[in-house]
Amino acid sequence: MTPTTTTLNRRTFLKTASAGAAGLVIAVYLPDISEARVATGPTPSGAFAPNAWIRIGTDDSVTLIIDKSEMGQGVVTSMAMLIAEELECDWKRVRTEFAPAAKEYANPLFGLQGTGGSTSVRAMYAPLLKAGATARAMLIEAAAQKWDVDKSACRAENGTVINDATKARLSFGSLADAAAKLPVPKDVPLKDPKQFHLVGRATKRLDIPDKVNGRAQFGIDVRVPGMLHAVVARCPVFGGKVASFDATKAKAVRGVKSVVQISSGIGVIADNTWSAMEGRRALDIKWDEGARAGLNSANISKYLAERAAQTGAVARKEGDAAAGLAGAAKKIEAVYETPFLAHATMEPMNCTAHVRADGCDVWAPTQFQTFSQNTAARITGLKPEQVNVYTTFLGGGFGRRAEQDFISDAVELSKAAGAPVQVTWSREDDMQHDFYRPASYSQFTAGLDAEGWPVAWTNSIACDSIMSRFFPGSVKNGLDESSVEGCADLAYAIPNILVNYQLSETGVPVGFWRSVGHSQNAFFSECFLDEVAAAGGKDPYELRRRLLAKSPRHLGVVELAGTKAGWGKPLPAGRFRGIAVLNSFGSYVAQVAEVSVNRKEGSVRVHRVVCAVDCGRTVNPDTIAAQMEGAIVFGLTAALSGAITINHGRVEQGNFDDYPVLRMNEMPTVEVHIVPSENAPGGVGEPGTPPIAPAVCNAIFAATGKRIRRLPIRPEDLA
């Protein structure tokens, strides 16, 4: 399938694609990948490359091509496991390479090559099992022909085809040449999952050994002969432009080669990164700050509150919320607010490009290879197929590396310099020129009956729309579903629900941030649900159980987390629990947080988090645990300290001193429990993030009786 993503509604294509995963893509010949530092030669003659993901050499080498970006979520291993499960190769000999940008590697859920939305396993589970099975069938057929027996007499195991009757064995490598000459069979039967020996078993990650000795090559580590290093001075105000500049002093800095103007600002090109940074310090630039120079956080907050008060696009309607409220015995109201957030990946944005007359090489830590290829093609005037994209390891992604601004920097700079150029963003560049998690404002009203059960729920949300920029075709009638996900799809059995969305334009660039709309909307909906519980005199765990009685997977994780956390049982003095649950990216996650609050100091400590996840069939359970652990840390940073604030059109934070993130000494104990499931695989990279903020804030209410209705949690909100 090759849908045009710009015209597809994101949720629709996720549904469509998960219903019928794309068929196996068969490439005639897979061009070899050569990386800047670790160059590999052409495919050896006689090698068996039946499809875009598998290459078996006559020397018994097995190379599996990974077409997803590895940003820590373990895709190198999980993708390889899926192929190897059916291929029956020797797992100990598996090598992996990152795929080039090529149409064969389009993500079936996006229609273009990219990694995001917790889709890797969801998109590739069936295609990769099939790719492995098809290759295995061809190796078996080749062996059967050599032995002149029926293929049913042969089976594959551990990189060898075996004839059990004769005990004859042939290695995959010795069959590669013959298998390569066979037609590719269609509809090869797949294993019953009960027979899996790799998929579903905790498996050590293939990329770890090179991540303990400095060998793993991230984008910033690319070194090509003749490469220059560059940094770019960007207007500190969103949308501002260069009015004029004087590069005299910058050019006098030792190591600086040239100073050039590009679309994002003034680039300083030098023979090392430090000289480029020093050269930038010496630049004299006059900026035209433009129309957004007056932006500040207070005005934005006021604007979003005004938007939320207006009638917007209907995102969810059940029953008659107005009538439900009118007839309610008790009504409660609350407003919630969250700030802009930066991604702050540990590896700052960077890219290396080499523009030539006849082609362009791009080495990049990118989440979207198709976009990177198209970006370079647009700037150079080359055809996309003349642009080679070499994907490196990503030093964190979290959605930031779906953007292409670092790609265009490098391509424009290389074009200007006539040499390979690596652009490196400083931490301040990275934090002040991000595409931020949108600031959001959420208004709630709930009506309760005389017994304290909720009968009506209204919610009005105002925030910037990410999809309006990224996939504009998906925004219809003013509704960006990603802005309301986690609120509009409220799972609780409440008869009257109305959720509205006001598409807003604050002037701050916004983008995908780990778990997207769910990240703030789970905080809103799960905290307000706790308010409903308190107003009705119900236990928050028991209220969830009752209202989720007809949502078995929600209920399953709530009960597992509650049981493992000992909900209702006594805690050490000063400790309190809170719970939250959300379904996102095809998976269900509930978390119970145990906290203590020091009201005098205005501080909160999270001691323990019990996490239950139902993500359907598992590929690598240890990776699922790791993703839950990491997602909880990511969400805790947002809850406890994350805030990007704007003044005079500029981001006020610049580094980890004023944008603090969770550190080792604040790390709670995290326990992850996986629900056994035979449902289709769900995502695991993002679903662990949304529930933690509400779980913590609900625990704070248990401790203090005070509601946290804005993030990050402030000392005065704990007093």
Partner: protein, 191 residues
């Protein structure tokens, strides 16, 4: 004028701006890219190296200040990933994206060199300067304890079982009953 120091056990001489931070000399001049740039202000620890054995943020250390000293980077820790900290990191699958891990490992090694059996609180204290956005802190803490065990002098019968692998520790994933065989959880499949 050239600046000379010992880098990963070998003499090294560089002719660069004496004010250039050691980080960029390592990465750009000497192409030793295992040491990472994260913040440029000694706030995140990604650039941690050892200078005469002390964990040091190379992003704010002028190269001139290491003249005559011994510098060890992640590449110089061991030739074959045999350092107990590297072994423990592999055993527990600590890294996710891996970008901060050179710095984490260098800080952990420096801690264990001084304190062979650190407590959780001592680990928190020594490691609080190293940021990980992937959130691997819990595994780092466990891996430091594991490295301390690997690092400890062998008990009663040294080398009696030269091929015995250390018992793999239990990870955080206490799987719900029936999800998978816990023995397989720790045994792995890619060694």
């Amino acid at each position: 004028m050239a600046i000379s120091f010992v880098l990963n056990g070998k003499p090294q001489s560089v002719d660069v701006d004496p004010e250039m931070p050691l980080l960029w000399v390592l990465r750009d001049t000497l192409t030793l890219t295992g040491t990472k740039f994260g913040c440029g202000m000694a706030l995140c620890g990604a650039c941690t190296v050892h200078i005469d054995g002390e964990p040091t943020r190379s992003c704010i250390t002028a190269v001139s200040s290491v003249a005559g000293k011994k510098v060890t980077t992640i590449e110089g820790l061991s030739a074959d990933r045999s350092h107990p900290v590297q072994q423990a990191w592999i055993e527990l699958d600590v890294p996710q994206c891996g970008y901060c891990q050179s710095g984490q490992i260098m800080s952990a090694c420096a801690l264990l060199a001084k304190n062979r059996k650190p407590s959780d609180a001592q680990i928190d204290d020594a490691m609080a300067g190293n940021i990980c956005r992937c959130g691997t802190y819990q595994r780092i803490r466990q891996a430091i304890h594991r490295a301390a065990e690997l690092h400890a002098p062998p008990p009663h019968k040294p080398a009696s079982q030269p091929n015995a692998r250390p018992a793999a520790p239990v990870t955080t994933a206490e799987l719900a009953p029936g999800t998978a065989n816990p023995a397989e959880l720790v045994a792995g499949g890619a060694e």
